[in-house]
Point group: C2
Chain length 292, copies 2
């Protein structure tokens, strides 16, 4: 197998190639003056399997298009099986039609990936695993980043307590709590039917957060609203310190400031996304390489 490093591989391509002792080919990449992408694979591929490493963080559409172009070039060079290693998969949250007439964006993107010649997707903790598997016509492998995140979390906490900001993140919290050998729970939320506002309904009664180092865990940190709210709950319950960990740290708008204002002392993400300086980054190359 050959590893092909795309324009948004964020260093993961090099690390995987090293771990697995595979040949790495870096894609030649430029932007034409009019804004179109140019892609070239500068080496031959003789009926070999290839793994294209290309994340699809912002600008998502550009990074997706480059992935499609790399796949076309690889196929033309005679690649046998094409695996796309997409640490962060764009459009994963538009996984159903909330209103009639909406585009089902995740399905559209997965369809385009398949028809660009990609046989298998390997991605890191997508928003809804079932949706991804049902919409993609090829094979899907899901990587759990929890071991990598746990390594970084351990450096920041003494008496950890893992808290999921909502029921959806409960499974994630349980996985992290096992790695940390720590207790876990979740916050129950309810949505006001008239205002649409989300309020904390309750957290389970047997939870003892007082004096603990609370680790909030989620799949994606986007605008930071959910975690900022959860941090306040944790401090109200007597938390000594609150930190946040997530597979994909997008931090859009003023998310970082919002999280810091809520008293979150440290944010841990992975290199699925090119993050800002203030984020501690857990390297997921190892957990990806094991699955490849």
């Amino acid at each position: 197998m050959i590893i092909i490093g795309g324009s948004a591989s964020n260093g993961i391509d090099e690390r995987i190639a090293k771990i697995l002792n595979l040949k790495l080919v870096k894609v030649e990449h430029k932007i034409f003056p009019d804004g179109e992408s140019y892609i070239r694979i500068p080496e031959s591929i003789n009926s070999e399997n290839v793994a294209i490493v290309q994340s699809t963080y912002y600008p998502q559409d550009k990074h997706l298009m480059e992935l499609f172009l790399i796949a076309e070039a690889a196929k033309n060079l005679g690649a046998s099986k094409i695996i796309a290693v997409i640490p962060y998969l764009a459009y994963a949250r538009q996984d159903r039609r909330f209103k009639d007439g909406e585009a089902l964006s995740l399905k559209t993107v997965l369809n385009l990936i398949y028809y660009s010649g990609i046989d298998e997707i390997l991605t890191v903790e997508p928003h809804k695993q079932d949706a991804l598997i049902s919409y993609f016509k090829g094979e899907v492998k899901i990587v759990d980043p929890t071991p990598a995140l746990a390594n970084e979390v351990k450096k920041e906490v003494e008496y950890p307590f893992v808290l999921a900001p909502d029921r959806g993140a409960l499974d994630r919290a349980e996985r992290l709590s096992k790695e940390l050998n720590a207790p876990f729970s979740f916050i129950e939320k309810e949505r006001d039917r008239t205002t649409g506002e989300v309020r904390i309904k309750e957290i389970p009664k047997d939870v003892e957060i007082k004096g603990k180092d609370v680790v909030l865990i989620d799949d994606i940190i986007s605008t930071g609203g959910t975690l900022a709210q959860a941090a306040k709950v944790a401090y109200d319950l007597g938390a000594r310190k609150v930190i946040a960990a997530a597979s994909h740290v997008l931090l859009v708008n003023n998310a970082l400031q919002k999280l810091q204002s809520a008293g979150i002392k440290c944010i841990i993400g992975t290199n699925s996304i090119r993050t800002e300086d203030n984020i501690k980054v857990a390297d997921i190359s190892e957990v990806i390489a094991v699955k490849l």
Copy 2:
């Protein structure tokens, strides 16, 4: 048939609907805080044919992705045949592999368009018509914008002479000269094999440009280099005035300034692209509507 107006329809959707007296549905469109596109078609489509109007000028990848999303939504609403009216088709100039290992971007894009559920493409003077037709698995209709451009050119010239800046634009020049009832010719160029520089080789001997209003014609004005060079040739041959007309006026980097410095008095484009203020715009809705 229903006309569906995309986010980059540039007003052509409304005009076509009016000309053909068809129902127009404007796509609901927004950008999520993280940069992903949201698309919704806010009306039902009951086994009707639809024509999605969406140009793919800069940012090309975003506009392409929106086209794919609109097609998915239209198909899901029960659209029968889906026609994509793409006045300017991105990636049309990457129509072959100039070096081994390059992505054949035009083929990739046409493949994605087809597999997003689009049965037919209607586009305005693509860079290489044959390449488009051979790479797209569905039907292709090509619209000639010359009549629309000629209407605008007529307003700017008294003694027109149509000049193609290279042999590739000769057919285009001939079409425009017929509309204007004017003579035409072309400039022969040669590329220096060591420096890669392009020089004017000759222009045919029987050409009398002296005192004429030269109309330079091309399919795309990108960086403006070709036309600036051609304008100098025209003035050297005694042209009274030089103007430029093109199907797709991209004007990247300092192209406008370059063209003005070369003495080009007026630039005429079409609404296939959202252009700057200094460009005279020929409306291609009519020539598109006739072909639809």
